[in-house]
């Protein structure tokens, strides 16, 4: 074992604290821009780390743990924080030192968490952050007394201004201080139980026996629920100790909580010199409007409208550039390669197929940028507060709002954002309905098909809005219905949220996050989508048709289309549309590319996407049946649109859902259920429309 613990190459320091306390800003101030993002082993929670060099020249790894109000977790994020600090996460040794980031203006609220962290037996340093806010309120804390009371270094910080950063780095000197002793003491029965349990855990070979003993007695769920890193015997021993305490009228969870709060009151009483004024802050004044029962909604509507309008308006220029870029690449390839399958594959398949997806990158980037800025400014919590009333009708809470909003860009980050929802039932419901938020991948399909239904930009905008409204409305209705069947024994999710003060977003962090999402999107385009377009091209190009025969009809895709025709005919589609629909199950953006292929639209390398879409539309609108009637009347197009609103056509989403729910049953059930619903909805629209004479 090294001086700093087992397995580590670099000593590891963890940053912990409540959400919104400024941990990430402090992390950035300490480490600069060398953040590495990954996943904790075995879980899908993001692992964020970077190296930093102390003033003494030593290099450390700094780990930014997920925000947590408590080490008795209420969400997957908090579970990871607990498990890392207790050393229970496989392949993630416990840190060698912990920096507890605490809001100086709200010290008393944070000390419970600090005491829990001290009880893990890891050396602790307190970063008293947002010290400027405390000073502005007239709050004065005697940091030396606070440090003496808790026996930990206390450093005042103001992370955005870089204040206190050098002093904080100076506390990270080697050797690290020893673990801080406990400053609370429970009644005799509880103290004896802690000691007895500690010995039993040591005998059983459980590491950090003292920390585990305290936590097993302080947290009923931790004691009762199976923990992969604790032996069943250890948990049985813990339950026995707890029962003994309860029999003596000293329930350990209550006694430990009370002892900690007594310690907190003593500490606050000694260290807080001036409590500060309770006068209205700037955030309070702004909230009079943003949380107003009427004006709050007006502001919310205006903000949401501005976000979506900006996305469509400002994305046009970069989208145009991307279009021209891909067009130039396709031209270049066409001029360099001789005519034949290879040229066809690269210019028509790969470049144009992938290009038809990448073109939506600016819209996705802008949506993530706006969501990041709104979240960073503190407004998103207000939006969640307002939306709670609407969400509650669907059996959800306002906390589901942000994940669902993210779903309008892409379902994958939306599903991952659901990790912050405390209630397991609400988290699952949010994940299950999320794909019905019309994501940006549906836009190519909407842009292709809506002009076939209505003419004029106003009418088309209204139909587009209807698509979004249908998807969102059905999602909330589904949440209400599913909520009555899933987790019936679980309590109704309740809304509990901290509204942070308004602040300027950390633009650097937001931009880095957006860049991460953009790269992730491009990676998907370069892997999944690329693979699909190559396969599509091959399916429509082989086997080669004899001279005089239609290539498409002879190809594998053509035969698949013919086979699927009886299934899709009741929806008003034919085999070509059915084939294109099938290909878009892996990624719905591919639909347009499939339609271009199946309608044998020759995509001239110099044409832009609008021209290609116009050609596809022309082929669709002029196609005739044998009796001369339109092959694809508006009702068929509407049925196709309805299908695309409801079908889950994104394999990466299914995989992420499986990872987040840890269940193929939920992931595949969602895929099957949404596919079936989409089919039935399209069927109902087409058949119902025909009955009504459309």
């Amino acid at each position: 074992m090294s001086e700093f613990g087992e397995h580590t190459l670099l000593p590891k320091v963890a940053l912990v604290g409540h959400p919104n306390v400024g941990k990430t800003t402090l992390f950035n101030a300490l480490t600069g821009k060398n953040r590495k993002v990954g996943n904790y082993p075995g879980v899908t929670v993001e692992r964020s780390s970077a190296t930093l060099r102390t003033p003494h020249g030593h290099e450390l790894e700094l780990l930014d743990l997920p925000g947590a109000y408590s080490l008795s977790p209420n969400s997957p994020d908090e579970t990871v924080t607990r498990d890392v600090l207790l050393g229970d996460l496989a392949d993630e040794p416990a840190p060698d030192l912990v920096i507890c980031v605490v809001d100086a203006a709200s010290l008393e609220r944070h000390l419970y968490f600090v005491l829990q962290v001290i009880d893990t037996g890891i050396p602790v340093v307190i970063a008293l952050n947002q010290i400027d806010r405390a000073e502005n309120k007239g709050l004065r804390i005697n940091r030396q007394v606070l440090a003496d009371e808790l026996e930990v270094p206390v450093i005042a910080c103001q992370a955005p201004a870089g204040r206190g950063i050098i002093q904080l780095k100076q506390t990270l000197r080697f050797p690290f201080p020893p673990p801080t002793p406990r400053h609370w003491k429970g009644p005799g029965a509880v103290e004896k139980a802690i000691e007895k349990l500690r010995k039993k855990l040591e005998e059983a070979g459980i590491e950090r026996a003292q920390a585990h003993a305290i936590h097993l007695l302080a947290d009923t769920d931790y004691r009762i629920e199976a923990q992969s890193h604790l032996t069943p015997e250890a948990q049985v021993a813990a339950r026995e100790m707890a029962s003994e305490c309860i029999a003596k009228d000293h329930p350990p969870e209550d006694e430990i909580t009370e002892a900690r709060f007594l310690c907190i009151r003593r500490t606050i009483s000694a260290s807080v010199i001036e409590k500060g004024s309770e006068a209205e802050s700037l955030s309070d004044k702004i909230d009079r409007y943003t949380l107003h029962p009427f004006w709050g909604w007006v502001i919310f509507g205006a903000v949401m409208f501005a976000v979506f309008w900006s996305i469509f308006r400002f994305a046009a220029i970069p989208m145009d550039l991307i279009e021209k870029g891909f067009g130039a690449m396709a031209s270049g390839v066409s001029s360099l390669l001789p005519e034949g399958d290879l040229r066809d594959l690269i210019s028509k398949g790969v470049i144009e197929g992938v290009g038809s997806v990448v073109i939506f990158l600016p819209q996705i980037v802008l949506l993530f940028l706006f969501i990041g800025l709104l979240e960073g400014s503190g407004y998103m919590a207000r939006a969640a507060f307002l939306m709670d009333k609407v969400m509650s009708r669907a059996g959800l809470t306002g906390k589901s709002f942000l994940p669902l909003l993210s779903g309008f860009a892409c379902a994958i980050p939306g599903v991952m954002a659901a990790r912050t929802i405390n209630s397991a039932k609400e988290r699952l419901l949010t994940i299950l309905i999320l794909p019905w938020m019309s994501c940006s991948a549906r836009l190519p399909v909407y842009f292709l098909l809506i002009p076939l239904l209505v003419a004029g930009s106003l009418a088309q905008t209204m139909v587009m809005f209807l698509m979004y409204a249908l998807g969102t409305g059905t999602a909330l209705l589904a949440a209400w219905i599913l909520g009555k069947r899933i987790g019936r024994s679980e309590p109704t999710p309740q809304f509990l949220l901290e509204l942070p003060p308004y602040r300027l977003p950390d633009f650097g962090y937001v931009l880095r996050h957006v860049l991460g999402r953009a790269l992730s999107f491009l990676k998907k385009a370069g892997t999944v989508i690329l693979g699909i377009v190559i396969i599509l091209w091959a399916l429509s190009s082989y086997p080669k048709a004899p001279e005089g025969e239609d290539q498409l009809a002879h190809s594998v895709m053509g035969r698949i289309g013919q086979a699927i025709e009886p299934v899709v005919e009741p929806l008003g589609w034919d085999g070509r549309m059915g084939g294109a629909m099938l290909t878009s199950f892996a990624a719905r953006e591919v639909f347009n590319g499939s339609m271009a292929v199946t309608f044998a639209v020759d995509e001239d390398a110099e044409e832009d996407d609008d021209a290609v879409r116009d050609k596809i539309r022309e082929r669709i609108s002029t196609a005739k049946k044998e009796d001369g009637s339109p092959r694809y009347p508006p009702l068929t197009i509407f049925s196709l649109l309805i299908f695309y609103i409801y079908a889950l056509q994104c394999l990466p989403t299914t995989i992420v859902v499986k990872n987040e729910t840890r269940s193929w049953r939920w992931a595949l059930g969602q895929l099957a259920g949404m596919s079936a619903f989409a089919y039935v909805a399209a069927l109902a629209v087409y058949q119902g429309g025909k009955l009504m004479g459309f």
Binding site: S70, S106, E108, R109, Y112, L139, L291, P491, Q494, F495
Partner: protein, 83 residues
């Protein structure tokens, strides 16, 4: 006045946070219910001062310099007395 009577009077004057008047300051006396641990950990602990800012299906309170929003159902689990 005996301590027992004082405590009884305090108990009687305590009300649930959802019943408390908007704009007034209160002190948390006790927490009773399935979410009391979570409420304590986020800031609604015994002896903490709370100012109720807004009422409705979701309440808004100022606790220790922070704004916390909570549902009515959770607010019913927090017993307070006027501060």
């Amino acid at each position: 006045m005996s301590v027992g009577l004082t405590e009884a009077l305090e108990r009687d004057s305590a009300l649930n946070l959802d019943q408390a008047a908007v704009g007034c300051n209160f002190q948390v006396t006790s927490l009773e219910g399935p979410a009391c641990r979570q409420l304590r950990e986020i800031g609604f602990c015994e002896e903490m001062r709370v100012r109720k800012i807004a009422d409705g299906r979701t309440l808004l309170c100022a606790v220790c310099g922070t704004r916390l929003a909570l549902s009515r159902t959770l607010a019913k689990q927090v017993r307070v007395t006027p501060a």
